[in-house]
């Protein structure tokens, strides 16, 4: 078996591990939620984590499945994954997303500081949730948009 096929097999194994872990965690979350419903905790967060892990595993399997028995395809997939231009594009996108994330976090920190003095309204409830969701989503959108932009430019 070539190095490329071994590399693909490693990715597939990782995919299976994530998928299995995700299913187990999601099932555990659902079971705990039903068995201990009287506790004042929301166990859906465990189920959610399980779904996330399973999703990561599934995406790995989908990505590398077609290359598992085809040496040439395994070599191509491996080259595409380690492609220096793509690594540069990802690094640039990560850098931009980092600065946006830093800016949003700093804005939130400043807002909280001013709110403590009564200069700005408190962020609470839905407003806080939407701000935090934005702090996660906006850098992600910047990351994806940056990748798309640089793929066309570079």
């Amino acid at each position: 078996m070539s190095n490329y096929s071994q590399w693909v097999q490693q990715k597939l194994r990782l995919g299976w591990v994530f998928l299995a872990a995700g299913v187990i965690v999601a099932a555990a979350g659902a079971w705990i939620g039903s068995e201990f419903a009287y506790l004042p905790y929301n166990f859906r967060i465990i189920t959610g984590l399980g779904i996330l892990l399973a999703g990561v595993g599934f995406s790995l399997l989908v990505r590398y499945w077609h290359a598992r028995k085809n040496g040439a395809e395994a070599r191509r997939v491996s080259a595409a994954e380690r492609d220096e231009r793509m690594l540069l594009i990802r690094a640039r996108a990560g850098n931009r997303a980092f600065w946006v994330s830093l800016g949003l976090t700093y804005t939130g920190l400043m807002w909280a500081s001013f709110a403590a003095n009564g200069s700005l309204p408190e962020l609470s409830g839905d407003t806080l949730w939407f701000f935090l969701a934005g702090a996660v989503l906006v850098p992600f959108i910047v990351y994806i948009a940056s990748i798309v932009r640089d793929q066309n430019r570079l």
Binding site: A79, A80, R82, D83, E84, R85, M86, Q151
Partner: protein
């Protein structure tokens, strides 16, 4: 940076994918190199020069004026 990659690749009758496979990059990287949109790392430049069996400066045409605009 200008280069003569497309010229030498065509001389050998290779497709972009075949060249990409030989130097272990994606076809998109070869397209970008040929269009002059992307400058390769020194390692990739050496791999390409070695593949075409020529000095690196015959393949990639360095001009200091161009550097100021990048």
């Amino acid at each position: 940076m200008k280069n003569r990659l497309e010229e030498f690749r065509s001389q050998r009758g290779w497709t972009q994918q075949e060249l990409a496979d030989q130097v272990e990059v994606s076809r998109q990287t070869i397209i970008s190199l040929e269009n002059g949109r992307y400058n390769p790392s020194i390692l990739l430049a050496f791999r390409l020069a070695r593949l075409f069996q020529m000095p690196i400066e015959d393949l990639f045409l360095y001009s200091p004026e161009e550097e100021n605009h990048e």
